[in-house]
Amino acid sequence: MAEGGAAVTAATDVHGRGASDGRRLFEEWYAALTSAPERGEKAAYVFVMGSLVELLRCFDLHVVFPEINSLQTAVRKVADEYLNLAEDHGFSPDVCGYVKADYAVQVRSGEHPMGRIPPPDVAVLTNACSTYIKWAEIWERMYEAPIFTFDTPGSRVPVPLRRAGEPVETPDWASRLGGGFLDADSFEADRRYVEHQLRELIEVCERVTGIPFDIDRCREVLRLTNEMGRHWRRVLELNRQSPAPFDAMLEGTIYLGVANALRGTEEGALYFENLVEEMEARIADGLGPRGESDEHYRLVFVGVPCYPIFRRFYELFAEWGGTFVSSTYTWFASGGLNRDFEYDLEDPLGSLAEGLLLGVREATDSLMFPDRALIQSIDEYDVDGVVYHPVKSCRTVSTGLAASRRVILEERDVLALYIESDMMDKRVVSEAQLKNRIDAFFEGLRSREIRIAGSASASD
């Protein structure tokens, strides 16, 4: 790893390599964060939507993802300790659980189940999520470190252009939202603003680290992200196969962690190259996420997973032969890697600005205006049902989902499940209620299957 970890090693049996290598790389990443202060190394706090890791690597900054730290407390079943501490300090039960868990990590001097999180020497955030801004204001009050709030103006039109060069089908209601995204002049104005801020951020990083910006180093980091992105998109694309080789909600989330933490590194690029190999091998062997494929229903997941019961949440679907072949999480939390965009190495800064703007827009469009992209996924991935999982903690992800469901059900012959819980707070997670709703959803899918089969045989 760029931060002191070992290289990914090739295994003779590729099956399961993505999970085991991912776990090891993650542990090494946290170990490097833990020991960074002893070595006098500095850390930058960033967020998954618009992390700017590529730029920060040019200044030898470790990158800390507080969102990942927070979700890890839930996956490791200790989130309540952190949430309770934050609520004891005055935070409301109704605000983002990630923010509260991170606040408690800071109050506990970085104590975390994966290691010790160093304090920030600098923090960089975008306006992709308004809560990022409130979150960073907490650090502003706690630390002297500079906090750089990056404006990345979002789309003014809700048509997510998932892949460059594709024709854009603009529904009437979408055109009523105005032309910021489709208007080249507006886009260029936004891009210029972002590039100006990049140059301002470079000055901040130079001041914090004492390291001058090296454009050639930046170019190399961008090249590695390009490579990682190509493999990441190939991994997502391979899940169009039936049976799908991996579960986009469960395994996809693990892969996402590596994609964020190891952007712009040799190890990250190699990891995803190996992952492509593993997925191709699974397809060749007819394997799915559970080994011998039992895939019966192909699903899309919309939202953030239920981390307090992450494995069990997956099982509630898997027990019925449900596989998440696609997940909006792998769109909006991949830092733009899912876009068919590569940095132009001849113009690193200009291209980084464009990539940041497009990546953040892709993320926010995936959250606010997911309909077109969802419909495209339903068609491309041959989907039977869409599972919406709005969470109490995250209004960025959750606010528009009920409205999106109405559109999807009007446009495609799929079933949709809408279940609310949380990504952090187990007080809001009722496994029994979730199971009832999920079981009813699959019974509906099965009834529809029987009905369609009956209609087909009658017409024969």
Partner: protein, 419 residues
């Protein structure tokens, strides 16, 4: 319904419909009652009258919008701020954990009680920015997102915002079918500068002689500005202010407080009345967007640049605008000091993430400064205030009459209803 003398100076004489149904000689009590009725009406008759006269309406969601742009285009800028209505249509478009103002604002539009020709929302929070998509899917009129800079310190922020204003202005021009000149904009800025001056005067009355004007009365005089033309609002305030100053009320033994937490969803008027029973609210952030620009905007240069610069450099504060130069807790302390308040009511709308987050920082800062504060939550639809009144009365008595030994313990009274 038009008053030829009520024209916007500096451009072709455009008659501005009179939207208030107040007789020219109406007294202060009648004026206040009329404003209260308008502010509490979920179906604002002023907007309907404007449309009936052939006017176009720009609805903008909280918190701030440069209404001068709409005014210069000849549109009526209307503040979309929800309403305490029963929701029959809107709730199915949202999940469970969303604040009330988003739902009720959509409800007003879906049920035809608020009709606009252009709707603008802002990413003030993660819920509000989703409103554009939901609005556009379900209503025929165009909806737009306006991204205000959150990197206020960037050397490019003003230029970016100026571009945003120009983009929106072009959309308004298409709607009204005419071009807006710089002189039109300057004339509108002058009208709004006058309005800003009058609102500063209104708040000076609250600060210096709070016994002459209760918080709910002042609120109605302020809020009605979001429902009528600014010239008419100016005329209203010009008549009301001298009458308020001549009131015969005498000072009472009430505590001077700052009310914080009304920047987006609005507390019910009855809640403000409940506060007024025990406190003089000497300053607040209620509908702060109407008072966002704290000084006159320059009229001698590029008007869009002047408005953008004022947004960044001559503005108030709220939990939804980030500006490292204006830490919000320091701004609150300044507001308390400037208004010589003895305590603060730190409130937040239920499910309002920015407001609830800010309560923590406000509380810590107030404790460090030894300023007593009352922490509470509200919802626009709440109807029972008796418990709040008891708690507030207890808080006030404790602060006013507690011995110094008790002060530490009685510094804070938290009234957060846990779900």
């Amino acid at each position: 319904m038009t008053d030829p003398s009520n024209t916007t100076s500096g451009r072709d004489p455009v008659t501005v419909p009179r939207l208030l149904e107040l007789a020219p000689g109406a007294g202060l009590d009648e004026t206040l009652e009329h404003c209260r009725d308008l502010v509490e009406a979920p179906d604002p008759p002023t907007v309907r009258r404007w449309r009936d006269a052939g006017g176009k309406v720009l609805g903008h969601f909280q918190v701030y919008f440069p209404e001068e742009l709409a005014h210069a285009a000849g549109m009526l800028p209307v503040k979309v701020r929800g309403a305490p209505v029963e929701r029959r249509e809107a709730d199915s478009h949202f999940g469970s954990y969303i604040c009330s103002i988003l739902r009720s604002s959509l409800e007003l539009a879906l049920t035809g009680r608020l009709e606009v020709d252009l709707f603008v929302t802002h990413p003030i929070c993660d819920a509000a920015r989703n409103l554009a998509g939901i609005w556009a899917r379900n209503l025929p009129q165009p909806a737009r997102l306006l991204y205000f800079p959150q990197n206020a310190s960037s050397g490019f922020a003003a230029r970016y915002l100026e571009g945003e204003y120009a983009r929106l202005l072009a959309e308004m021009e298409d709607i009204v079918g005419r071009r807006v000149t710089d002189d039109d904009l300057r004339a509108s800025i002058r009208v709004f500068n006058r309005n800003r001056k009058l609102l500063r005067d209104l708040y000076e009355v609250k600060r210096e002689t709070p016994w002459l004007l209760s918080v709910d009365e002042a609120y109605c005089l302020l809020a009605v500005g979001g429902l009528i033309g600014r010239e008419e609002h100016n005329a209203l305030l010009e008549r009301a202010l001298p009458a308020i100053r001549e009131r015969a009320a005498r000072p009472q033994d009430k505590m001077r407080v700052v009310f914080e937490g009304g920047f987006c969803e609005q507390p019910p008027l009855d809640l403000l009345r409940s506060i007024a029973e025990f406190c003089y609210v000497v300053d607040d952030d209620l509908l702060i967007g109407l008072r966002w620009l704290v000084e006159d905007v320059a009229t001698d240069g590029e008007p869009l640049h002047a408005l953008a610069d004022a947004y960044l450099n001559s503005s108030s504060y709220s939990p939804v605008q980030h500006d490292a130069r204006k830490p919000k807790e320091k701004m609150l302390l300044e507001r308390i000091r400037d208004s010589r308040a003895e305590a603060a009511i730190v409130s937040a709308a239920k499910m309002c993430e920015p407001g609830l987050d800010e309560q923590v920082a406000y509380g810590q800062a107030l404790e460090e400064e030894g300023i007593p504060y009352f922490l509470t939550e509200f919802e626009e639809k709440m109807t029972s205030f008796s418990q709040l009144q008891i708690q507030l009365e207890t808080f006030v008595e404790n602060v006013l009459f507690a011995s110094e030994d008790w002060e530490e313990e009685l510094l804070v009274l938290q009234v957060r209803e846990r779900h």
